[in-house]
Symmetry: C2
């Protein structure tokens, strides 16, 4: 899938949550209410959200919600691959791919802020070649492209 097409994601929230639940059960991880709710919010919005934006949602629901609440949940979710951090945006998105550690790559539209995710081998590509040449051990990669999605490019490049 290309990721930017109009998208009816009726059941992908339920599917994402179910997948996370299954994975946590299998791994002995605790998908606590706070963690589950944050993942659900990310799945519902289906876009990159800042930690404080998530926090606002939690507050609106009456939960006590100091910053660490969001950051702890997000750390759990990103550590286990249920969500990813977009460095360029200081924001987070629900993962749209299979569980377990993988190396995501993102296309970020600077006009509409939508983000689409692709997967790739962590040690592949230019980073992998550069690392090999330098004797560098890759543990995590950040691959993000900023530009215009098809819709925004068509609408007239700002």
């Amino acid at each position: 899938m290309t990721g930017f097409e109009t998208h009816d994601h009726g059941d992908c929230i339920a599917r994402g949550l179910a997948q996370a639940e299954r994975y946590c059960a299998a791994q002995g991880l605790r998908l606590t209410p706070a963690r589950r709710r944050v993942l659900e919010i990310l799945l519902e919005e289906h876009r990159a959200m800042g930690a404080y934006e998530i926090l606002d949602r939690l507050r609106a629901e009456g939960r006590g919600a100091q910053p660490p609440v969001a950051y702890r949940a997000l750390e759990f979710l990103t550590t286990h691959g249920f969500a990813h951090r977009i460095e360029r945006l200081n924001a987070f998105v629900a993962c749209t791919h299979a569980q377990d550690r993988h190396a995501p790559a993102f296309l970020i539209c600077r006009a509409c802020d939508r983000v689409t995710e692709a997967e790739v081998a962590p040690t592949a590509g230019e980073l992998g070649r550069a690392a090999e040449a330098a004797g560098f051990t890759i543990e995590r990669t950040v691959r993000e492209a900023v530009g215009l999605c098809p819709a925004c490019a068509g609408a007239g490049p700002a």
Copy 2:
């Protein structure tokens, strides 16, 4: 060069500055004292520095130095390719390559925080392929690998 070897950079400060001066003269850009000094600091340190760290240096030299001073200089330097922003670190490094817009890739050692830079075509690799598949127009890319440099990996992986 691999980038992590011990490094005697005696004249690379002077060379970096001279290169920037030449390029600015040719392009009608103004390498003002503040901009020049920030570039010089980055070249001297030869590592990724936070904006406020740079600011401290400017203050120590008696310049008035509110945050915008550093951020404006850094915006100029990054826009014209004299320095790059490391998203993962919220920090900046002097460019170690040729002028003019290019797409850098970075290897970031999480133990010693040293950063090495490689160049690559902006639309190459996984990001380029993903973008093509999605009809996405890339304007800028972020490619960063976090891991251990040879020295730190050898010293015992924390």
